[in-house]
């Protein structure tokens, strides 16, 4: 009879984890739709970046208020997960507070979980206020209309519920401990929930025990639901921030990659011995026959990982000179559009037995307009600001490449500039032979 609980628990846990695994596999498949790019070099620097930026939150605290509050939630989340481990063990084996044998250490552990849970609650409430009452610019911009705005709030509500359930569970437990009821031994410390505990005064012990069990179940089910919510949410950053900071570009921010496919063609063009009538060499290494990117499959996998990692905080957009002066460009929207399109392509593949069926849509135009792309000054403010080293700029540049090299669709003045460079080696119409005239002027 008593095994029923454990079996039920194992089933729920199994379901939660398998759904999550299925979805994570989809994300990995989608990311792999991107072009290859080698980011395996210099692994020590990569580990260091991950440790500093993702684990150490070094870029978050550049905006101190949000940064410190975020650290509360982050540390709270990570540490309280040790408690989840105990819950899982208790659930599977029918124990109660399995880690309590740790003695004083357990007391400290539970005590610090409680304080962290309280800090998380406080931070989350402030976050809700910042989003919905103070209405900071970056949280009310048109990028976030609809689902993204709700998503952000749902995450915060979720955290409030989970933390409240955690504290309520402890309070009920503590109440029963004080009464030396049943198997509720006096373990742990309850610096926060001791203030909730008096709520149970006057309620029968059996009822409190039911409440304790109910809250325990709700808490773990809540966690599993939250885990599965990640796939649909911007909240994926809690996992992907780590690989994202690891695989981020290590070159100086000003360095834009040189397209290898172009190098080959230019070398051929400049080679006096090349046979102009020779058939184009068949080159197995050419993965995409296209210059630049018009859709998600043309981007590289790190750019697609970037898109899934973006948590839509908007620091990029709030520092973008184009956006600050009223232009349509928003680096955050570039990332959100990339993810939206990638998910659309992913669903297309799911619905067509694993093969993408062209849908007459693309990232360019259907999601990101040329007006946005041409407003970028390539200043790298967005890249600098991103707390997890996402590069919206690299996507913008790849899409400009497509517009110019595949469609000859540059704005007219840029065509004039490029014609000048081609004809006289300067972006303006001056003769190259006059390049040293300044010396004598």
């Amino acid at each position: 009879m008593s095994y029923l609980d454990n079996i039920l628990f194992a089933i729920i846990l199994g379901l939660g984890i398998s759904f999550f695994t299925i979805n994570i596999k989809k994300i990995i498949r989608n990311i792999k739709l991107g072009q290859d790019v080698n980011r395996s070099n210099n692994s020590s620097q990569r580990w260091a970046n991950m440790a500093m930026i993702a684990l150490g939150q070094s870029k978050m605290v550049k905006r101190p208020i949000a940064g410190i509050l975020h650290i509360f939630v982050y540390v709270g989340f990570v540490i309280i997960n040790i408690e989840v481990l105990e819950i899982i063990i208790d659930g599977l084996f029918g124990t109660h507070r399995a880690f309590s044998f740790l003695g004083v250490f357990y007391t400290i552990l539970i005590g610090s979980f409680e304080i962290l849970a309280f800090l998380v609650l406080m931070a989350v409430v402030i976050f809700l206020i910042r989003r919905n009452i103070i209405k900071l610019n970056r949280f009310i911009s048109s990028d976030l209309k609809g689902w993204p705005k709700s998503d952000a709030n749902y995450i915060l509500y979720f955290e409030i519920i989970l933390m409240s359930l955690f504290l309520l569970m402890n309070a009920a437990d503590y109440h029963l401990q004080l009464l030396d009821f049943g198997h509720y031994e006096r373990v742990g410390a309850f610096p926060i929930s001791q203030f909730i505990e008096p709520l149970f005064n006057g309620i029968s012990e059996a009822t409190v025990m039911v409440i304790e069990r109910a809250v325990w179940w709700l808490h773990i089910i809540g966690i599993l639901i939250f885990l599965n919510y990640l796939y649909f949410s911007k909240h994926l950053h809690i996992l992907l921030a780590f690989p994202n900071t690891y695989f981020a570009d290590l070159n100086p921010k000003g360095q834009l990659d040189n397209l290898e496919s172009v190098t080959k063609e230019v070398k051929l063009m400049m080679d006096p011995n090349a046979d102009p009538f020779a058939a184009a060499p068949v080159d197995a290494t050419t993965v995409s026959g296209k210059f630049g990117a018009s859709d998600v499959q043309d981007l590289n996998w790190v750019q697609l990982l970037n898109a899934y990692t973006c948590t839509e905080c908007g620091r990029c957009t709030s520092s973008c000179p184009a956006n600050l002066t009223g232009k349509k460009l928003s680096p955050r929207k570039i990332m959100m559009d990339t993810r939206d399109r990638l998910e659309e392509v992913g669903r297309n593949i799911d619905n067509n037995n694993g093969i993408f069926v062209p849908d007459n849509k693309s990232l360019l135009n259907d999601y990101i307009t040329t007006e946005e792309l041409w407003a970028c000054t390539s200043c790298n403010a967005c890249v600098e600001e991103c707390p997890v080293n996402i590069s919206p700029l690299s996507i913008i540049m790849d899409m400009r490449r497509y517009l110019v090299m595949e469609q000859s669709a540059a704005p007219l003045p840029l065509n004039a500039m490029m014609a000048n460079i081609e004809n006289n080696g300067a972006p303006w119409q001056y003769n190259q032979q006059d390049r040293l005239n300044w010396k004598n002027e």
Binding site: S319, L324, T377, M397, Y430, D434
Partner: protein, 263 residues
């Protein structure tokens, strides 16, 4: 003007069997833009004064390809790059100095992969090294006590993490360096980068250079110092738009140093 600038070309140097200490990459703006030519000359005057053995490519120099690359034209960029690399390698160039952060970034970061490997420095870094080696002295002169704010060029600062060299030079002028609210890594772009210099801006409610000029004006400066010919143009236009060109000058770091010594 009757001033005599000593500007040898790499071709002349080679004919004499000499290799200069450094190649001065003038850049398109520095060669053709009237305002930027003054920066070029100021820098040359300092080089002459410090007896630096340098040479320019002169008519053999061509656009690095930066604006083409940022506009999306990788073909044109790589053609320019390969032509320039051929010339630079033929002269066995080792060290390059330039007063344009866009040329600086492209030569330093994007040429190596295409076969052009040089030590590339921005002119503010180069001037600082001259100063450290005792080959150049900087006096405050007319700038002593003046309020100077420095606008970080994106391609020098964020793109390549050079923030201190220009600031140290300003401080050597015994001027008061005042920082804008957005500076260094958080500096706001002037609006010229990414080929914007060569096109109209997209519809919005303000020009970027005006936004940036307002940042600068908030510091109540006597001089807005720049380290990039394009930033210089943008900020100069911004100051004119604010009708402040009477009180506030926009000057390159090289001009500040040259003028301080009446060069």
């Amino acid at each position: 003007m009757s001033e005599v600038l000593n500007v040898p070309t790499m071709a002349e140097m080679m004919a004499q069997g000499k290799q200069p200490e450094v190649l001065f990459w003038v850049g398109c703006a520095g060669s053709f833009d009237d305002r930027a030519k003054k920066i070029t000359k100021a820098f040359v005057r300092i080089l002459n004064r410090a007896n630096v053995s340098f040479a320019v490519l002169g008519t053999e120099e061509s656009c690095t390809g930066d604006p083409a690359k940022r506009a999306g034209n990788e073909f044109l960029f790589q053609m320019q790059a390969m032509m320039n690399i051929e010339v630079l390698n033929a002269y066995e160039a080792k060290k390059i100095v330039t007063a344009c952060p866009h040329c600086f970034n492209t030569l330093k970061n994007e040429y190596p992969e295409l076969g052009g490997k040089y030590e590339v420095v921005h002119h503010t870094e180069f001037l600082k090294s001259l100063l450290n080696e005792g080959r150049l002295t900087i006096e405050g002169g007319q700038f002593k006590g003046k309020r100077i704010t420095f606008h970080d060029p994106c391609y020098l600062g964020r793109a390549n993490n050079v923030y201190e060299a220009p600031r140290e030079l300003i401080q050597k002028l015994e001027a008061e360096l005042v920082e804008m609210k957005r500076s260094k890594a958080k500096g706001l772009c002037c609006g010229a980068g990414g080929a914007q210099m060569f096109k109209d801006s997209e519809p919005g409610n303000k020009e970027i250079n005006i936004e940036r000029t307002e940042d600068a004006l908030e510091t109540k400066p006597d001089i807005i110092a720049a380290g990039c010919p394009f930033c210089n143009t943008m900020m100069t236009d911004g100051v004119k738009n604010k009708e402040s060109e009477g009180e506030i000058k926009v000057m390159d770091i090289a001009e500040l140093i040259a003028n301080a010594q009446d060069l």
